[in-house]
Amino acid sequence: MKILYVSSRSVTVLLDESGHYEARSPLRLRLNGEDRGSVSRSVESLFGLWPQTCYILEATAEDGRTDQVEFETLPEFCTLNVRDFGAAGDGITEDTAKIQAALLCCPEGGRVLIPEGRYLTGPLFLRSGITVEIARGAVLQMLLDRASYPILPGTVRSTDEQEELILGMFEGNPLPCFAGAINGFDIHDTALIGEGVVDGRAQDSDWWDSPKDRVGGAFRGSLFYLQRCRNITVQGITFRNSPCWNLHPAFSEDLDFLNIRISAPYTSPNTDGFDPESCCRVRLLGAEISVGDDCVALKSGKVYLGRRYHIPCDQVEIAYCAMLDGHGGVTAGSEMAGGVLNVRVHHCYMRGNDRGLRIKTRRGRGKFGVIDHIRFEDVLMDGVKIPLVVNALYYCDPDGQTSYVQSREPLPVDEDTPRIGTLIYERVQALRCRGCVAYVLGLPERPVERIVFADCSFDFEPSAEPVPNPAMADGVEPVANQGILLHYVDRVDLRGTRITGISGQMVECTQVRALNS
């Protein structure tokens, strides 16, 4: 067992290092001798603890093996209960101002408690050094009328017009967007914890109509939005039915997202689960995600932000998570102009996604747009149509279908050319695949540098329906029960890897310099 995070009122612990989202067997927990029930996840969070208290947590497996760990909760100066600030929590009265007042009054080291109840609220803004607990049975029900939401301008020029402040962001650009449900700007050492729910209620509003347009003066916002923050933890919270991306931390560092749940209908537009953008040292552990777009998408600006600031998404760990419905299990791009580097995805379970790992970029993203050192280790996939897709000719968005982007002729490598470095699949087991093991489409002028498959297994559904558009690029044919399809790759290492149920060759190469198997 390993302690992952402790607050004044909660703890997150890794119970089964070798499990996936689910532990290998249920575990019985006892906290200071008191039975806390049976749990099934590899990463679990416990709430309802008392500040500055020593605890011994014991976990007993079905076979009788017991492990234990000691920890001490953090001190806490005070608790401000939003009910004491006049919040009704009746689902009828608007509580925005009351909750926001509690947040603003809370001193560093204090806790704001949102107890059981249904709180009708607009966007809330966090501050530094506090813990906000949305307790079990508490639901933040977001207002339905977008006119109630503040607009965050995309950029505000500094008074001397030499610099800029970024506030709103939409799809990788600094554009006006509505504030998120919960927002943090330039804050640090803040935690949002608890077993409560943040409900965007987009299905009851007009957020999902004209999803790509400015409506009411701004683009859609998210449920949890950070700009320029550090040391932020989100633990245990459920996010559902976001207007757009669910969680969107940007230009922030040292972020933990533990045991969160994210859900949106499979048909909802662009409701990505977790999209850190130009963030460093990010952990997503023990999360369950089921959404209408990519479950996790690592980003770093479409073009302008990447070129101006060249801050990559760097040092990201995604582990013990369940990616259920969603286009991509884990995606890098397509907004990646600042780069996506050093990503480790391990002990995750992906079920029914269109793609397992999905790399999306295109010409024009620029020289800072580097995707490198992406590792998938000990990942279990079930019913994922295509476990790996790499597409350097991604055609979505208004400027994606130009001849410049889609050309299969090598163009000069220049300031606008992105780069895809090393991608590693190690001990990945994929059951009931449908399309192909991998569809890789690099740039003719700058091929994908290296792909490694080590000790992996891929089993296909017999006679699966063809998967149209394995990569969203012009001229790509549907695929069904095929192996590893490579176009424009420098080097592929294939060792200890088994593929069953395909028709045709295990590896089909077009413009591949070295295939080592």
């Binding site: 650009n173 400027d399 279908q401």
Partner: protein, 170 residues
């Protein structure tokens, strides 16, 4: 204003774009040419949802700026071309939109620093920039109001600006 272009049918926009493309590169980069053609060019790009031309539009304005030099960028025709083009550009191709916006801010600053001349097209650009949130109203608003009074001591400066914009088919 730009609604003229929005309501225009695509064949008319395409005719205008063809006329522009037939010009020599030197003529294309003249402020007067940019004013006459860039808003339609940008509009075509936006309406067709391809944004093929955003990069070229930004490049042409940067070339024009280089020709004008720092002392020439308070030119009213150039500023009005920038403002009217921005109104028609696809903002989601942000890098090019922002490039043009930055030129407008730079030109507006030059206009302010050089005494905020009461030239109708400059005032059209400043007024549009403030209304569209590209220019800081606190910085440029008072100078705009003073210049409008210089332009028309009777107080109908905005009407004079509107007439000038309409004459330029903005």
């Amino acid at each position: 204003m730009h609604t003229d272009i929005i309501s225009a049918d695509m064949p008319a926009i395409h005719r205008k774009v063809r006329e522009f493309r037939a010009m020599s590169p030197e003529v294309r980069e003249q402020p007067q040419t940019l004013l006459a053609f860039m808003p339609a060019y940008a509009r075509m790009d936006t309406l067709e949802q391809k944004s093929l031309e955003s990069r070229e539009i930004a490049r042409l304005f940067r070339r024009a700026r280089a020709h004008l030099g720092h002392t020439g960028i308070n030119n009213g025709v150039y500023l009005a071309a920038l403002a009217a083009t921005l109104q028609n550009m696809e903002e989601q191709i942000y890098e090019h939109f922002r490039s043009v916006e930055d030129l407008l801010v730079e030109g507006a600053r030059a206009w302010l620093d050089s005494g905020a001349l009461a030239d109708p097209l400059s005032l059209y650009a400043i007024q549009t920039g403030i209304e569209e949130h590209w220019l800081d109203p606190e910085r440029y608003g008072p100078a705009l109001e003073r210049a409008l009074l210089v332009l028309s001591p009777q107080g109908n400066g905005r009407a004079v600006v509107l007439e000038a914009a309409e004459r330029s088919q903005l």
